[in-house]
Symmetry: C2
């Protein structure tokens, strides 16, 4: 069993009942996987683990078990957002954190484009008329020529911008700080210039990471700064939006519509008013989840694992300095 001892130990925090995530079969000869679904299993697995792979984001569980992680040399989050891992002991440590950058980019971009076209072509109303067997012609809208502001200039935001551009939209981006435009965004506003940037946008898509800076970014004042009749789409992180302020902006007609794939509380509670608003599209955090996404996440970890073992630099290392926990 000498070989076993040389295999890196990988603790895998998964959701209860999930078992070994798909795509990790290939690792069995190269790594000792220890699946952890409970607090006890996690504490045990972390004691010896070289690597932690997180596919479930019960932050409390991980933070509690964290002191056991004495040998940990790498944490990988099988997700685009890493906010759930944003506790000081991890953020302040020297342990590199990587994420699933890339896997969800193009799927979420397609999803956002689908939502914009659904608004432009009034598809939800068409389906409601269909349900009532009503033939009711309306004029609809072009999407080409409309202005899109993408809030979040990471890989997902950029994929959204690129796709919107090829269908003829005029696209600008918002990043943490303003910077020169590039191939994806001819103009990149800083978040401090958000209100100004919002004033001209027909569509606003939020695809920003959740940080201390973006939490609650879309509140009463932000929505008031939007162009009357604009549509707001959130495919990023729920708590970036102050939901009550959004509901109010929709009620008073400032916004013509909103499509939300993520929420401050998920699942969205059954009694929440958003479900029943005709100008709102509610989807259950599925924008990036195209068939095979779990396997793609597994394959991405396997590829990074092999880099790590070969002493090569890890891909998709998160800049933890931006994960302020305040």
């Amino acid at each position: 069993m000498a070989e076993t001892t040389t295999r890196p130990r990988v603790a895998v925090l998964t959701a209860p009942g999930e078992g070994r995530p798909p795509g990790l079969e290939a690792l069995e000869p190269e790594a000792a996987l220890q699946i952890a679904e409970t607090a006890e299993q996690l504490a045990t697995a972390l004691r010896e683990a070289d690597i932690l792979l997180v596919t479930d984001f019960r932050t409390g569980l991980l933070r509690e078990a964290w002191p056991a992680a004495r040998h940990l040399r790498w944490v990988h989050a099988a997700s685009a957002g890493v906010d759930a891992l944003c506790f000081p002991e991890l953020v302040d440590s020297d342990i590199p954190l990587t994420n699933a950058r890339g896997v969800f980019d193009a799927p979420i971009a397609e999803y956002a484009l689908g939502l914009m076209l659904a608004f432009a072509k009034d598809l939800p109303a068409t389906l409601e008329h269909q349900r009532k067997r009503r033939w009711f012609h309306r004029d609809n809208e072009r999407l080409a020529g409309k202005r899109l502001l993408v809030v979040g200039a990471g890989s997902i935001g950029r994929a959204i911008g690129r796709l919107a551009k090829v269908v003829g939209m005029a696209v600008e981006g918002v990043a943490s700080t303003s910077r020169p435009g590039d191939a994806d965004f001819p103009t990149i506003h800083g978040v401090d210039g958000l209100a100004t940037a919002l004033a001209n946008a027909d569509y606003v898509v939020a695809a920003a990471p959740l940080t201390a800076r973006t939490r609650g970014l879309f509140g009463t004042e932000t929505f008031a700064a939007m162009k009357p009749g604009a549509r707001f789409i959130n495919v990023g992180r729920g708590p970036v939006v102050q939901t009550d302020a959004l509901v109010a902006a929709l009620h008073d007609g400032r916004l013509a519509g909103a499509a939300l794939d993520v929420f401050e509380m998920e699942p969205l509670p059954e009694e929440h008013p958003l479900w029943a608003m005709p100008q709102v599209i509610v989807s259950p955090h599925m924008a990036g989840d195209v068939h095979g996404w779990r396997e793609a996440l597994g394959a991405q970890f396997v590829a990074n694992f092999r880099r790590w073992r070969a002493g090569e630099p890890l891909e998709n290392v998160v800049d933890k300095s931006r994960m302020t926990t305040g």
Copy 2:
């Protein structure tokens, strides 16, 4: 009033109560417009008319009044499809027929893309779950990489193909006869090769004109030739599809979905089974009707009128030899 007599007389066949179509105000100094909403008005207007502009398609009315049209030198259809004008007296005459080619291309392409994305992202089911306040995550599909077959290689079909291509779909076309591929369609099948072409397509969009050759083109055998699980979209002309065969292909699961903007009978009768099929999207012949479409049709006629008056060649002359009336 000498000037008046030199103004060309334009008979305008419009729907009852519609009045002068928008965008024709500019013509008043240059042409004598005579709006016709009834059979009598049409017969009167046609007696002296140099030009007939048709914005309403009550074929019987026009064919009946046709013998009065002794001075007619040009007929313009303010629509993409000209099938309603396809009666022998007009087709066999030397009078040029023009249409609204171009006006609806990009709007319909966006509409078709929106429908394909709605299928790929399972948007109708999402809206149905929303209506029931159900949080129900599903995996969805990529659109990029999927194969699209566009049936109809006119300007609308080409606009659909171009838009699908820029979002990453693999696109082929079907025209009346097979021909070398071009910038829009790398492969163009003839309609006699339709069954073969259908076998590989994940999405099939019908955007063909209604002719003797395309009437009922999509019937039992055609649907049987489609790839299992494919989606069918009709944004062209309703009678290109044998609706009963489509309903059967949906019922037996051969097709995973259909989105129909046009129907054999419009409005779609209230009792028709299509309304209630969950995998079907019914819309009321509005795919191309973006805000301003009536004005755009008017402006297009005005521009062609000025060409005609200046002795320049008319634009968008329809090849009447392909309007077989059999």
